[in-house]
């Protein structure tokens, strides 16, 4: 009797579970589906009533056009790849170097300096972006990739995350290396970096994602169309061709591919990184 009741309850719970799963999956999928379908439509099939759930004639025209219109789309992909790659490298290296000092080398004022790092995390980027723009203006670095990437040399969150990780490396390893006559630089590369690989990978993956998707900062710094990164390029396209949805959807789809490739190879690091980095998105 009890057994039967329990089984009935179990199957009802399963039904609710599958119903909920289906509804939520649809909500997630429909926009992607609509993006793909639209990108395969010809211009004339966009604004028709009733809407076409499937293109009458599948066409790759939008993709061809995206690369042939008076808009440096291919260029913006290359720019984004370069900038995101470099920003990741700069952020991770600079933060790792600073984290090594904060985790393993004693000097007077270290803790005060480190609390200063943590304090800066409270100030939202909107407060510092205007003066940052002005600093780069005085350095003559506006509208340049150098200017775009330079602020990445300081990242309090990245430094904090790596320091926490490096603190767990036993001092004995470093002392042994020192007895063998290793320099700071050797110790840093051979021991510290080698032993923090998972943390470095996690940080690299979320930094790459952040840089690849970044919008506001490149929007402010870059003025020339040839220098645009992909999100800025897409938003310009959105203003310029606001009703050419097949073009816009093709662009959106292309912009998603690189990050999905990275995700396919490193999904564990992504999920780890995002749950640690929730605050600093």
């Amino acid at each position: 009797m009890i057994h039967k009741e329990k089984r009935k309850k179990g199957s009802r719970s399963k039904t609710i579970f599958y119903l909920l799963t289906t509804i939520t999956s649809c909500f997630m999928l429909v926009p992607f589906f609509w993006m793909v379908v639209t990108s395969l439509k010809e211009r004339g099939a966009l604004m028709v009533i009733p809407i076409q759930w499937w293109p009458e004639k599948i066409s790759f025209k939008a993709y061809q056009e995206l690369f042939s219109i008076d808009f440096p789309f291919a260029r913006s992909i290359a720019n984004s790849l370069f900038v995101a790659g470099m920003v990741t490298f700069i952020t991770v290296m600079s933060a790792a170097m600073a984290a090594y000092v904060f985790a393993k080398i004693n000097f007077r004022g270290r803790e005060i300096l480190f609390s200063l790092y943590l304090a800066t995390m409270m100030i939202p980027s909107q407060v510092t972006m205007i003066p940052n723009y002005l600093v780069l203006k005085y350095l003559g670095l506006l509208n340049s990739f150098t200017g775009l990437m330079l602020p990445s040399i300081f990242n309090a969150f990245a430094t904090f995350m790596l320091r926490q990780n490096m603190k767990s490396i036993p001092d004995a390893y470093l002392e042994a290396a020192e007895l063998d006559g290793a320099s700071h630089i050797t110790i840093f590369f051979r021991i510290i970096l080698a032993l923090s690989k998972p943390a470095l990978a996690t940080l690299a993956v979320i930094t790459f994602m952040g840089a690849w998707n970044d919008y506001l900062w490149p929007l402010i710094i870059l003025t020339e169309r040839r220098k645009m990164t992909l999100p800025v390029g897409l938003s310009l396209l959105n203003g310029q061709y606001s009703s050419r949805y097949n073009l816009l959807m093709a662009g959106a789809l292309i912009s998603m591919i690189p990050i999905l490739i990275v995700y396919a190879f490193a999904h564990r690091y992504f999920e780890q990184g995002l749950s640690i980095g929730g605050i600093k998105r």
């Binding site: 997630m28 000092v101 393993k104 080398i105 939202p124 330079l150 300081f154 001092d171 999905l260």
Partner: protein, 294 residues
Amino acid sequence: MVYKKGQKITTIMLFLLPSLLGLLLFSLIPIGSSLYLSLTEWDVIGGPPQFIKGDNYLNILKSEEFWRVLKNTLYFIILYLPLILISSIAVGTILNRKYKGIAIYRTLFFIPVLTSWVAGALIWRWVLSPEYGVINALLGYIGIKGPGWLYDKTWAMPGIVLASIWKDTGFFGLIMLAGLQGIDPTYYEAAEIDGAGRWGKLWKITLPLISPTIFFVTVISIINSFQLFPQIMVMIIDRNFAAGHVFVERIYQYAFKYYKMGYATAFSWILFLLIFLVTLLQFKLQKRWVSYDT
């Protein structure tokens, strides 16, 4: 701990130099100069900044626009917060089951998190198109005439909220999942013996035990809500459309379209203060509903 003696200060400096330089140039100096700039009137191109004391702050608080921006932001939060809590708890619960195919489901929710907001907002601008979008078409099938969404002053924000739920559920769902995984299953077994039903277990066990996670998600969501930007810029193309005015968008307009640097920095400090106060308030109120004893 190591290297107390004989360490070369120059080596330490070499390791710290890039980061310290960045701290100075892109954080400390900007924070200081932004405080000063907010007390001035300056258009960058003309002469040096004119010191005008707290006038910018007063003018902002006196402007009808500031209150409208605050109202739009609160409208977003009121709609977004309950929805994101429900959807992320639901997704977290689903991911917590060990059914077949759950990995695909997980990926499905994670793709929007990986996608740039610009691409996501482009998709949603089209999905929400009043005449040719899928949402209104679907509503039409069940006999509802869909609203004008992003072109309608009442429905623009709900449209932005829908897109944001789609974008953020995967992320917050994972955080909820981590909270749910921390619950000791014996609690449920004990409750079942006491004859608790599904709702009883949800309200009496699950929700209280993940209240620290719910608190975390609430704090982060509200901070993010004050900083809406790409979705607004892309989904609402008309910058004069008042229903689409929010903090960061206004700050961007004042600084980089009208070159009113003093006014814009003052606006950004008001935003910081608001975020700070709201967060502080939540930490004060958490005693009433968040329980950390497990």
